[in-house]
């Protein structure tokens, strides 16, 4: 039986293992954390259908547990990767026929955009923090009050040369609209403002969700990037932006500011590239052979990519890609 080592136990790695198993190929998943699920494990609900992340992950975990010939190694990392052998941090050596890199992405550290005050002022949170709050079921300000006016800022750590992140992180626009709706559902009387540069609603049902946010939920959309955040005397946050559609500067005070943080390439990507002859893109994400017929193959024979290691992707896209990887591997193994 052919054996594949998958590095990364997020949804890409898990889905890939499940699909490989159904194709009669065994797989070992290496996960550095103590549980599978990756970033999705801490997410609340998914756009555009508001499906609980738990449902998706639950189903995937169940399939993963039931599938034959899958083994899981949690709490370990790979120290040496070749297409035929992976060495673990425990010193174990895993023989294999191919390797899948599914190490995902890093969330942008909002503290780098100092002018937004993350880590400086209370009540400046990131989209990930907000999901965490949704999970806990309570959204309160530091002083215990409920927010009455909330702003969401798009493109934090995306499309920003100043933090060396040129690329669009793709999912934050949709997440921003989704979170605005969720906030409105929680606090129907609160005012919610989305500050955006461009609204990129690229997928099925996204545009409809956007329209729903505008019309049904009365979410305000302001076209302009927030440039500075400062505290007010009463402990709120004062925002400065330009309302570019009217061409005038805008300032407003809010109770809470949500920063829609972008997806950043893992720092280890550069090292992966240097050590194993792989290629990185300008954005730092790994570079597949091409964007079409070989979009999950690396330039090294026997090393495949699954999920957000190559570019920002939504949950659905990631799952699709993981399936593709399994099929391509089978194809490739038969040709060997």
């Amino acid at each position: 039986m052919k054996h594949i080592v998958i590095i990364g136990g997020g949804i890409a790695g898990m889905q890939c293992a499940v699909e490989l198993s159904s194709l009669g190929i065994s797989a070992t998943v290496i996960e550095k954390e103590h549980a599978t699920g990756g970033k999705l494990a801490s997410w609340h609900r998914l756009f555009p259908s508001f499906t609980p992340a738990e449902d998706v992950l639950g189903e995937l975990r169940l399939k993963f547990a039931k599938a034959a010939n899958i083994s899981l190694r949690c709490g370990v990392t790979a120290t040496e990767i070749t297409p035929r052998k992976v060495t673990l941090s425990t010193g174990d050596e895993l023989e294999c026929d191919a390797v899948v890199l599914a190490t995902g992405f890093t969330l942008f550290d909002a503290r780098i955009k100092e002018e937004y005050g993350y880590g400086i002022y209370d009540n400046v949170v990131t989209s990930a923090d907000l999901e965490d709050m949704f999970n806990r079921g309570e959204i309160v300000l530091k002083n215990g009050n409920k927010p009455r006016r909330i702003a969401l800022l798009h493109c934090v750590g995306s499309r920003d040369e100043k933090v060396c992140q040129r690329h669009c992180s793709k999912v934050c626009c949709v997440t921003g609209v989704k979170q605005a709706i969720e906030l409105k559902e929680m606090f129907p009387t609160a005012d919610v403002f989305n500050f955006y540069m461009d609204i990129r609603m690229f997928g099925p049902g996204y545009e409809e969700m956007y329209r729903e946010a505008q019309v049904k939920h009365n979410v305000h959309f302001v076209r302009g990037r927030i440039s500075e955040v400062s505290p007010t005397i009463d402990g709120r946050l004062q925002l400065k932006a330009e309302d570019t559609l009217t061409g005038r500067p805008l300032k407003m005070s809010v109770d809470m500011l949500v920063l829609l943080v972008g997806m950043r390439a893992n720092e280890e990507n550069a090292e992966l590239a240097a050590r194993y002859g792989l290629q990185c893109q300008e954005s730092g994400f790994m570079k597949p052979q091409d964007n079409f017929m070989h979009n999950v193959e690396s330039n090294v024979e026997g090393i495949f990519y699954a999920g957000t290691i190559t570019s920002p992707k939504s949950v659905g896209e990631t799952l699709n890609e993981a399936t593709t990887v399994a099929l391509r591997i089978k194809d490739w193994l038969q040709k060997q």
Binding site: E115, C155, R159, D160, E161, K162, M197, D198, R223, G224, R225, I226, S227, E228, K240, A241, E242, D243, T244, T246, G247, R248, P249, L250
Partner: protein, 109 residues
Amino acid sequence: MINFGFSINKPRVIDIDNNNLRKSNEIILEMPELQACIGCGSCTASCTAGNLTDFNFRKVHTLVRRGEYQGAYMELNKCMLCGKCRLVCPRGINTRGIVMLIKRKLGDF
């Protein structure tokens, strides 16, 4: 009175067919990065002069790029060249250089 950015007397349309784009092209040729502007308004929002007046850098350079030079030089004279806009521009545009370039090109307009 509310300033809606136009008046009844002047024709409002930006007439690209009849505007003379020569200077605009010269400016863009010298600093092509200006075309990278996505109009996010960070420059205007952080602008020291814009905080005190109706100066709007984004609007001025966009109009200049469309061949609307009237008044641009005088508007840009409100800029203090403090450089905050350059520090916040997500597209890495050399905004101070642009201010100086447009003034140099349009100085005799």
